[in-house]
Each structure stands twice: as C-alpha cells, then as structure tokens.
C-alpha cells in the first residue's frame, strides 16, 4: 500500500474570503489534468449523442449560410464588400458561432452544474475554460466547409475570390481574442444566471441581438458614419472583421478599433473573474 504523502508545510485555511480578485494559480495548475479531461468529456459526449455526429457541425454553417444568401443577399440586397456571399457569410459565421457557442454553454455554468458543484470542490472556473477549449474542435470542423467553398471559388477563378495568403497565418490572433472575450462574457453570464435563473432565457435572446450588432451579415463599409460607433462599441466587431482580413483579404479595421476591443475584452475578463469568484463561494447555498 502506498504511504501517505507528507506534504510539509501544506496548510489550507478555509474561511470567509474577502477581496475581489484572488486567483489561486497554483491550484489551477494542480487541476490541469481535470481541464484536459473535461474537454475530452465534452468532445466525446457531444459526438456520441448527436445522430449525425461531426457531420452536423459541417452542415450547420452551410445551411445557415444558404439562408443568409437568400434572405440577406437576394431579398434584402445587403452587399458583401465584393466578396462572394457564401464566403462572406461562412467567414463571419466561423467567428460568430465559436463565440456564441462559448457564451451559451459557458453562461449556464452554475445552472447546468448545480448538482456537481453541490457535491465536490474543484476550481469552478475550469468549466467555462474547458468549454472555450472544447469548442475549438467544432471551430476546426467548421473550417472545412469554408475551405471547400474557398477552394471552389479559387479554382473556378471567380471575381473577388479569396487568395489564401500569409494573413491567414495570423488567424490564431483574432481567434484567441474571441476565446478571451467569450470567456469574459461567459463568466459574467454564469455569475448572473446563478443568482437569477430566469436570465437564462434572456441570454439566448441577447446573443441573437448581439449578432445583428456585429458585422456578420453586413460589411463594416456599409455602416454609415453616424452609426459606426455602435459597431465599434461592440467588442466582437473587431475580431470578426479581422477574420475577414485574414481569410478573405478584405475588411475595414484600424489599430484604434482593435485597441478599443482589446481594452473592453480585458475589462470584461478581469471583472468577470472577480464576479465569478464572488458568486462561486456561496452559490450552492441557494441551489
């Protein structure tokens, strides 16, 4: 039998915590294996439960894009910056779907895990973090339809087709930006829905509205000067636009806009961590 591991000097004090921002980095590091296993769990359970499996993740953006092409492109006549409609929408959806999947599941962290949290302790923040990581898998899958369309337009030599060039290598930057932003939003949403359960319904609605405030179905160039600030006040605008620059070589984005968006992201993330921690300490008392 194994001996009891003596941990000299190991001392854990359980008491009412004070202060707003105390991240126990060492503890998070100790639980790193759990993060990997949570990601693995998400991955396996998701593909085992759906009928079509990974195929669904390939189909979903294609179907949405088809709807967008018909409704926004044909009926509403919203231009797409000279980029072929399918490519334009697929690119925007690539960024947006990753974001919205993160906040939808991450925002319900306490609601969905109430039972688990009531029975065992581990750093709660691992749950929204694992969601952000696990969703990278479906993000990677969604690149496939985009790549197929891009290849098709490139090979047929259509006008405005993307020439995949070096900016594509920069894609991890806006992706990381979206990951950080969605984590910040998730933490805020999780903390608020823990207290007020009915906010869960509101968040679904909010996510939908948010998409229309983000240049997913329209290019920034078509937003009139007077309304630009609305788009720039939205921290998701810059990374979505950056996605287009990376993948399609076209977009409207300045350093100032990127800086504002990053600033908001950092503010949301830091305040989100603080709020989340505040809530996690006693959330099970009202569960």
């Amino acid at each position: 039998m194994a001996d009891v591991k003596s941990a000299p000097g190991y001392e854990l004090i359980v008491e009412r915590s004070s202060g707003w921002l105390k991240v126990n980095w060492r503890e998070l590091w100790d639980y790193r294996d759990l993060l990997v296993l949570l990601v693995q769990r998400d991955f396996i359970s998701r593909y085992k439960q759906t009928l079509l499996g990974p195929l669904w993740f390939l189909l979903q953006p294609v179907l949405t894009t088809a709807v967008f092409v018909i409704v926004f492109g044909r009926f509403a006549g919203i231009p797409t910056d000279g980029i072929p409609g399918p490519l334009f929408y697929l690119c925007g959806l690539l960024a947006w779907n990753y974001f919205s999947q993160n906040i939808t599941t991450g925002g319900a962290t306490f609601v969905n895990n109430a039972h688990l949290f009531n029975k065992v302790y581990f750093p709660r923040v691992l749950v929204p973090v694992s969601i952000v990581v696990a969703n990278l898998v479906s993000f990677a899958l969604q690149i496939v339809p985009f790549a197929i369309f891009a290849a098709f337009y490139f090979l047929t030599g259509r006008q405005g087709a993307a020439v995949l060039s070096w900016p594509a290598l920069l894609l991890p930057l806006p992706l990381l930006h979206i990951a950080a932003l969605s984590l910040g939003v998730s933490l805020w949403m999780a903390a608020s829905t823990a207290k007020y359960r009915d906010l869960v319904h509101l968040t679904a609605y909010l996510t939908q509205i948010w998409m229309f405030a983000t240049p997913v179905i329209y290019p920034l160039s078509k937003v009139s000067e007077g309304w630009r600030w609305v788009v720039w006040a939205n921290p998701m605008s810059a990374p979505v636009e950056a996605f287009r620059i990376c993948l399609l070589g076209r977009g409207t984005l300045g350093a100032q806009e990127v800086a504002i968006s990053l600033g908001i992201t950092v503010a949301l993330l830091v305040s989100g961590v603080a709020l989340f921690q505040r809530v996690e300490r006693t959330v099970v008392d009202s569960a």
């Binding site: 009891v4 190991y10 001392e11 004090i13 008491e15 915590s17 009531n118 029975k119 065992v120 009202s286």
Partner: protein, 430 residues
C-alpha cells in the same frame, strides 16, 4: 505535531427562502436520476429559537463549532438530519464558505459526499474513472497507477470499455465507489455514501475504508446514520445537534447520547408515526412509507411495553410502481446503537406487488426483550440488488415493568435481549 484538522468557531448562516429551503432540508437529492429518500421529513424539525440568525429568515446551520483531529484518526460525525453535519462537511470540503470562523486543513482533502459525482453516462467506465478521479482532485498519473486496482475492486471486468449508461445500478455504484476508495488524500470526508449498493458490496466498502484508515494512516471524517458502522470504524465521534457541537467522545458515548436525545419523552401520541402527505413521506420511485405503529397486546399504540407482553410493529406502505422481490426489514437497536436483532417479512411476502397500500406487521413475543430503550429502524430493499428505503430510525420504545428476570434486580441487566429461558435448579444432595 500539529493536529491535521483544526476547526475554530465555525459558523454558517443560511437564508431561509423558497430556494434556500432545499439545502436546509438536505432533502431529496437525485442519485443518477433516481431519487434518494430523506429519512425524516423537514416538517418534523422546526427551527428552534436558538438557531435563528441575526436577521429575519436567517438561521445558523452551524454555530461556533470547534474541535481538532489528529492525523490518522477516524472521526464519526453523528446527529439528526438537519443538525448541520452535511453543512460541516461542505465547508471542510470547500463546497461552500463559512460565515465566520475557520478550519485549518493540513493535508490534501477529498470529499465523497455522493458516489459517482460527475460520472457521465456516455463515457465508458475507463473514461469515467479518469474523469471522476480528476474531479476528486487526483492527477492523471496517480489514477493511471491505481487503475488496475480500481477495476479489480469494482468487479466490472470486461465492461470497463462500455458506456456506463449501460451498467446496472449495482455496477455503477461499485465502479464509483472503487474510484473514491482508491484515492490517496491525507483527509477523506465521507457522507452517507454507503446507503447505496448491495449488501455484499457495502461490506467490502466498509472493509476498504477500515483499511484506508488503519493501514494507510488517513484521517477520515465519517458521517452516517448507521450506528453500527460508526461504532466499528471510528475511534472518536462528535455529536452535532441544532448546529452546535454538543459532545466529543468515544463512539459509544456519542451514540448513546444521540439515541437518548431522540427517545420519546412522555406518553401521549407516542408509538406511532404517519405520513398523510405522500410528498413528505420517505419514499423512492417504487414505494413510500405511510405509517409505522407500535401496538400493545390490546392493539393500541404505545411506547412503553411490559416485558412479558407481546408487541407488534406494524408498517403501512404504498407501492407506487409494480414491485418485485422487495422486503421490509425491522432492526431493533439499543440506546447504545448495538443491534439487538433484525427481522424481515421476506419469506411471508408475495413475489410481486401491484400498486396499492399494504401492511406488514411483526409480532415480538413477550419475554424476549430486555428492560431498556429500543430504537426501531425500518428499511426496504430488494435483497442482493438495491435499497429502496435506506435504514432509518423512526420510533423508539421502552420495555419496563415486571415480568422479566431483570425486573427483580436493581442493576441494569446486560444484554441486548433478555429472553425468558427455562431454568432448572436441583439440589443434588451431599
């Protein structure tokens, strides 16, 4: 050497309210979809004045609890439902924060408040072992090193790569307990987890826990309503009553006081308990308790009986779903928590029962019991398969008066029972 756990003036204030009530009641909690029974309904425990908090609608789930535990001790935590035992474990395992006071833990803590927390039905047994181990705070490498041992202990064998949703409830529980039993924390917190699983496996788990404590020198906190297990496993025990720590001592002392405190005082309506409201009754999906009565020879409920007169324990229950092979058992415990005897209606039962009300009663003949207090424990299970209603103490009674050989002597007569036996005294001459 410093004690491994120091608890100093630990207090926890809860808000009462529509949502807060659930945690107060320690009520029905789902165990992988099935509902577990809260042995005593919350309505039976009004919040006493000394527990009410500083503001209206607040109350102290735990108030000024202090004690220390040395490394390698097994400490039993005894108390009624709602006394604050689970709150104490939740604070020690960091699930929730104390309102004031603190606890110093000098070692890694693993809490086992439920078997199989975090198991995912879609994952295989193998994947769940790793996930569950990590949730409980183990590193992947530690789990891998213990993997074979865990699989052996769980007896799931070749099903290890099958999704656990295809496991029987017995296999599920065995696997879940096996993971927890093979963890290597310095401090292990265990709450009532042995109330599930079949009898054979429970014995194995108790054995494993004893081994963890004695051979591996772990510090174990053990919460249970099973006084026999507390007595067998623990070296020390604390009694928690009304959110306060009222006694620290040997398991014998603590169990004795715990049972004495829950003994009936006065006569009146004693000797019976009934659940008119199905929602309040101890129940599971298949069966619900509706009432228990202790009847004297005349058939009227009582809580004091003559030693030489018969007494009947009558259980009324309702079958909610077609039930096969279930049995009710009655266990009589003494005030010190020793088992006097167990009896069951199994052989006198029909194999299958359709929904409806049933009554099962057990006649205890006169001249069997000793002159003392007894606790009546009732449980319902399907032998070798699973528990429907876990054992819980519902009623108690006193055997007094004449008609017993013990009655002739002033001292407490030893023995859990005192059967009336034939004696023959002969003079054999010089």
């Amino acid at each position: 050497m410093k004690p491994i756990v120091e608890v100093q003036n630990l207090s926890k204030l809860y808000k009462l309210g529509a949502t807060g009530l659930t945690s107060v009641r320690e009520s029905i909690e789902s165990v992988f979809g099935k509902k577990k029974v809260a042995p005593r309904p919350a309505a039976k425990m009004p919040i006493s004045d000394d527990r009410s908090g500083p503001e209206p609608n607040t109350f102290w789930a735990l108030k000024d609890v202090s004690f220390t535990v040395n490394a390698g001790e097994v400490i039993g935590i005894v108390g009624r439902n709602g006394a604050g035992k689970s709150t104490l474990l939740k604070i020690l395992s960091r699930i929730t924060e104390p309102t004031s006071g603190r606890a110093i833990l000098r070692g890694r803590v693993v809490s086992l408040l439920e078997v199989g927390t975090g198991f995912h039905p879609e994952l295989s047994g193998r994947e769940n072992i790793f996930l569950n181990g990590a949730i409980l705070g183990m590193r992947r490498a530690e789990i891998a090193a213990k993997f074979d041992e865990i699989v052996d202990f769980s007896e799931v064998g070749k099903f290890i790569d099958t999704p656990v949703k295809r496991y029987s409830s017995g296999m599920f529980v065995r696997l879940a307990f096996a993971v927890a039993a093979h963890l290597d924390p310095e401090i292990l917190l265990i709450d009532e987890v042995l109330a599930v699983g079949d009898v054979g496996f429970q014995k194995k788990c108790l054995g494993k826990m004893g081994e963890v404590a004695t051979q591996q020198g772990r510090t174990v906190f053990f919460v249970s309503h099973n006084m026999g297990a507390v007595r067998a496993l623990c070296e020390h025990a604390v009694l928690i009553d009304g959110g306060r720590l009222t006694l620290t001592g040997t398991p014998g002392e603590v169990i004795s006081q715990y049972l004495a405190a829950s003994m009936p005082k006065g006569d009146g309506d004693e000797g019976q308990i009934a659940w008119e409201d199905l929602a309040q009754a101890p129940k599971c999906d298949e069966v619900a308790l509706r009432g228990i009565r202790l009847l004297d020879a005349q058939g009227s409920p009582a809580s004091t009986f003559e030693a030489d007169k018969p007494l009947t324990i009558e259980i009324t229950y309702e079958v909610l779903q077609r039930l096969r092979g279930a049995r009710f058992s009655v266990q009589l415990l003494t005030q010190e928590g020793e088992l006097a005897f167990a009896a069951t209606d199994h052989l006198f039962q029909n194999e299958t029962q359709s929904p409806g009300r049933y009554r099962t009663s057990c006649l205890i003949p006169g001249g069997l019991l000793n002159r003392r207090n007894y606790q009546v424990q009732v449980q319902c299970d399907i032998p070798g398969e699973r528990y429907l209603l876990p054992a819980a103490e519902y009623l108690s009674f006193l055997i007094s008066g004449a008609g017993n050989q013990a009655s002739n002597f002033p001292e407490t007569w030893p023995g859990v029972v005192c059967p009336k036996l034939e004696w023959k005294v002969e003079a054999l001459g010089k």
